[in-house]
Symmetry: C2
Subunit: 315 residues, 2 copies
């Protein structure tokens, strides 16, 4: 089934201990769409300027991603982010954020997108997230992301969006900030009380934990149950930019590709999230996502099972 | 088969957001021994003062732990540690360290301990660790722990001990400090190059990763393979003191209870480590370890499988 994703399409200038890349294609919607495209049809709503041309369009086209919803602002410039990572590679230092045309982003839903069954609200202003969600009343499922900026300074708007979500996908720090609870289980419970019917908390190199219960989806257990998926221990993290969005794309893409949402499907989706995140960090920007295959994805999925399952026969 | 553990037997004064306990029985060897005692015979070498009496002896006796190797120094006082945990509960603030009789600890191996098949060198001076290891030349396996203090200020001595180890069990920070590598896979490889044939790195609330390969044990894969075990997401961490030692006790106790060391046994042991660590933090000091049962342990083991395995049927 089709996923509609709304979010940033950007150019990233990235410096890590492994090198530097100027203006490579990035943005949350881009990483998400590429990762999800290996599992299901994806449609993107975003905004770009004149600097987004045939080269960038080809990246989406190659993966069969529908970008008729990416609005071009004539004379405008696309969102540009510049950041660097040092030693630990687990936190980006933002050097510049040029919002450009993204500053006035007003998502418009193309008619041809109206039959999308799954909606993903990538990390943008919660007011815009809510508007898109309201404009797509008939979707089967809505998932979303957010970040510290919206949690701290736009809480009221964010709470309205959270109330509309089936699944929220955030990281440890965001879960703690949003809930005011340090303990992860208490934080998860508090966040779910704000609206999301299920919750995925990403732990970076340590994997992710999902929380779900009876109201999350049919067939889910009565009480809140956690499920932990590992991350692949990776020797060479070249560039972590977009890993979280690639995780979300793999997770949600797999969900949307399945007939029914069951606990088993939800757990499997979490593993595919980890798989796509692990590919993302192997090269700069979206380079690795652009050049992976479904076979490689299945191979790595088996590797994820191997490193986490007791009864797996290691060769 | 029997495990001989050498390490601290102490009294801990602990303050956490859940309360305060004065002088409860603690020490690395104590937590380790209690956790391992649910799987196999355990013998302890340590040193205590006059304050260690029948009440403390009874704790070990109840679990069938042999403490003839715990030396009593007449007129002496046992090691006393005082610490507090705040909000995050993931780092202890040491308020006092009274080494007392532990300052002159000189481990002596009782004759009756000589047939122990498994040796665990808890976190003590690496010079003493090496001496005990040399005094037990016929053991089947040697595992050990260490800490930042020895890594930073006693590196040369520590390197001699590391060269004698089958398995080293440390946490993320220690692995990074010891190797000088931030990346966990590179850190693991570097630490294993120092001697340990296999390595377990604990990630606190995120679980643990084991690294092993052909030289680790018979039947292990040729290349270094990681295996990730989850930690149980716990709503109420009452007191994290001793969680790492309880993890080591569960891990090593299970290993020692098995006929052969295979990759499957190693992986299962890692899960039992997580199980015993998860019990430890539920109450102050060793209270929960003293009062668990093998049935509860098996139940929780199944819970660990449930929260991490794709094909597990969640009720």
């Amino acid at each position: 089934m089709s996923i509609l994703v709304v979010g940033s399409v950007a150019f990233d200038t990235i410096e890590t201990p492994h090198g530097k890349r100027e203006r490579c294609l990035g943005g949350a919607a881009t990483h998400f769409a590429l990762a999800a495209s290996f599992f299901t049809d994806v449609r993107v709503i975003g905004v770009v300027g004149d600097d987004f041309g045939v080269t960038e369009e080809a990246v989406f086209a190659k993966r069969g991603i529908d970008i008729t919803g990416i609005e071009h602002i004539p004379g405008g410039k696309s969102f540009h982010w510049k950041g660097s990572y040092e030693g630990a590679l687990n936190e980006a230092k933002t050097l510049a954020t040029d919002l450009n045309v993204f500053a006035d982003f007003s998502p418009k839903i193309p008619e041809a997108y109206r039959d999308s069954e799954y909606l993903f609200l990538a990390n943008i202003d919660p007011v815009l997230q809510a508007r898109v969600r309201t404009g797509m009343p008939d979707v089967r499922m809505v998932a979303g992301d957010t970040m510290n900026y919206w949690i701290a300074d736009h809480r009221e708007n964010l709470l309205k969006t959270l109330a509309m979500l089936d699944t929220l996908i955030i990281n440890d720090g965001e879960a703690r900030m949003l809930s005011g609870e340090h303990n992860l289980v208490k934080a998860a419970q508090a966040v779910m009380n704000l609206g999301p019917k299920s919750l995925v908390i990403k732990h970076g190199e340590y994997g992710a934990t999902a929380f779900f219960c009876e109201r999350s989806f049919a067939g889910a257990p009565k009480d809140v149950k956690p499920f932990r998926a590992p991350a692949l221990p990776i020797e060479e993290v070249v560039d972590p930019t977009g890993a979280g969005d690639s995780f979300a794309g793999g997770f949600y893409g797999y969900l949307a590709s399945q007939k029914e949402l069951t606990p088993a499907v939800f757990r499997t989706a979490l593993f595919y999230g980890g798989v796509m995140g692990s590919f993302c960090v192997e090269k700069f920007g979206t380079e690795r996502l652009q050049n992976t295959t479904r076979e490689e994805i299945e191979e790595r999925f088996e590797l994820f099972r191997e490193i986490s399952h007791l009864d797996f026969q290691i060769q």
